[in-house]
């Protein structure tokens, strides 16, 4: 459903993506792992239209989307749960959700129905619906960010490091939610530093290093791969330190 073909993205003179190609098929969970600064967020922002690639193409259901503005891309069915959550902290939880459905603002009751669904899936948000989003705990804010993205009924949900800075219990809950979403038919592109958990639930994965895809394979294959184990799963590090 999503095909990214050798894209190059720059920040002024910084060459952040150097010919990245990935694809995501309908119904998959695909994960993208890589060290800090590898270019994961840059890739995601390029897919969502927040950055324009200087070369290469991105197709969503055979439609070129690298030329479209972000709001068009959202309306085609791609939603982003951004790194660092990026909720509207001075607005209430409820308004945050409504903003996720901005593209459906003219459809009567759409936002209301979707809000109700989100409150069912995330009961804690119902309790906090009138509270300012900035006053939520980190875990609740992440739930809100996911719910906000789901408000537009995306076919492809992209999550950029959803486990960042959260307690293990909450992280487990978020991974559970991601699996449930897939079972209900949403395709997921998951960016993670937490490589072990991400690869465990992923069908396939990519490893990104300094703007290039250096490895790809099924989740299991990558978990077993010696390079991945050394660099991202923390095996053998103690031996390295002894040297």
């Amino acid at each position: 459903m999503l095909t990214v073909r050798s894209i190059h993205t720059y920040y002024d003179s910084i060459h952040a993506l150097k010919g990245v190609s990935i694809h995501v098929a309908e119904g998959e969970i695909v994960t993208l792992i890589g060290a800090n600064g590898a270019g994961k967020t840059t890739l995601v922002h390029t897919i969502c239209g927040l950055l324009k690639p200087s070369r290469g193409s991105i197709h969503f259901y055979d439609r070129p989307i690298h030329v479209l503005p972000p709001e068009k891309i959202v309306s085609l069915g791609i939603a982003l749960v951004p790194e660092g959550r990026q909720i509207f902290s001075t607005l209430s939880v409820e308004v945050n959700l409504e903003m996720g459905a901005f593209l459906y603002r003219n459809e009567n009751d759409y936002a209301k129905e979707m809000k109700e669904r989100m409150f069912q899936r995330f009961p804690v948000l119902r309790k906090r619906r009138h509270q300012l989003a900035g006053t939520l705990s980190g875990g609740e804010q992440q739930m809100l960010a996911i719910a906000r993205a789901l408000m537009s009924k995306p076919r492809l949900l992209i999550l950029d490091e959803p486990s960042m800075g959260l307690a293990p219990l909450i992280v487990a809950e978020i991974f559970k939610i991601i699996q449930e979403l897939r079972e209900q038919g949403t395709t997921v592109l998951l960016i993670e530093q937490n490589a072990r958990s991400a690869l465990a639930i992923a069908d396939r994965g990519y490893v990104l290093e300094t703007g290039k895809v250096v490895l790809e394979g099924t989740g299991e294959a990558l978990l077993e791969h010696s390079e991945v184990q050394r660099a991202y799963l923390g095996r053998e590090t103690s031996r390295n330190w002894e040297v």
Binding site: P70, A79, Q86, F88, L91, M99
Partner: protein, 293 residues
């Protein structure tokens, strides 16, 4: 009673300062730009209403409406063809561009209308009311009503309507707003149109009381800015209270001290606030420290 009389005139100009301050706040909230052309929108509103009424002989209500729409269009033009082309620049450069635009508006107004002040007939005819021995012009009430209606309308717009909430979202986090599919550029444009239209409404309402000429914008803009800062940049109710406060302080100063000092009141208040409480009466220090201005 002098005091009541000063109070009435203070509240009347104060309502105008509040409207100018609201204009600043709307644009600031969505873009962090301080639009120093805000005062010129008031001037244009007044003079255009005179033009529509006296030259084209529109009925007064239509002249009011036509003036507001025209100035709203000026705001659209400003955003679409000036600000948008400079959008890569730092906020400070954009603010300087708004100063340049204000000079252009003022110059054009002078070419078109000359340097004489113009007047407009009051919205309703009649003797002033006498309240506690002080005279209250009917038009003062209109100014006040216009101001209140706009404040209430804006509050509802920003808290109830989808577009209003989306504008708040752009102000809160423009990147996230783009991520959820809010067309941020359109919201910025809307903020310029709204601010311009609001300024114009204030200008039309005040012209029957205090006349209007090409160079009134700068001082109105400055005092409105004082009110906006005093109330805490970005706060609507703060702008209203601070605007009225400045108007009353000015009018008391003119009455009890000397009218020569009255223009200094807003500036002294502005300086004091900047020294003592930079976030304004209602501003939040934490939010203030995050914002760039």
């Amino acid at each position: 009673m002098d005091f009541i009389q000063y109070l009435f005139s203070g509240l009347t100009v104060g309502a105008i300062y509040a409207l100018v301050a609201l204009g600043y706040n709307i644009i600031y909230n969505v873009t962090e730009i301080i639009n120093f052309a805000q005062g010129e929108f008031v001037m244009l509103g007044g003079l255009l209403a005179v033009f529509y009424r006296e030259v084209l002989h529109f009925p007064l209500a239509f002249a009011f409406l036509a003036s507001v729409v025209t100035v709203g269009f000026v705001g659209y033009f400003f955003e679409r063809f000036v600000i948008r082309y400079a959008r890569e620049q730092a906020v400070l450069s954009l603010i300087i561009i708004t100063i340049a635009f204000s000079i252009v508006l003022k110059g054009s107004a002078m070419l078109f209308w000359g340097k004489d002040p113009y007047t407009l007939e009051p919205f309703t005819q009649g003797e002033p009311w006498i309240i506690f021995g002080a005279a209250l012009q009917r038009q003062s009430l209109w100014v006040f009503l216009t101001g209140t209606a706009i404040v209430v309308g804006l509050s509802l717009f920003f808290s109830r309507s989808y577009y209003g909430k989306a504008m708040c979202a752009c102000a809160d986090n423009p990147v996230a707003a783009r991520m959820v599919g809010i067309p941020v550029r359109k919201m910025i444009m809307l903020s310029f149109v709204l601010s311009a239209a609001i300024g114009a409404a204030g200008g039309v309402a005040i012209t029957p009381l205090s006349l209007m000429e090409y160079d009134r914008g700068a001082l109105l803009g400055l005092k409105g800015f004082g009110a906006a800062v005093l109330g805490g940049l970005g706060h609507f109710w703060g702008a209203l209270v601070a605007g009225l406060f400045l108007g009353i302080a000015e009018s008391m100063c003119a009455g009890y001290l000397s009218s020569g000092y009255k223009d200094a009141v807003a500036l002294v208040a502005l300086l004091l606030v900047l020294f003592v409480r930079p976030q304004g009466f209602f501003g939040n220090a934490e939010v203030g420290s995050i914002k760039r201005f």
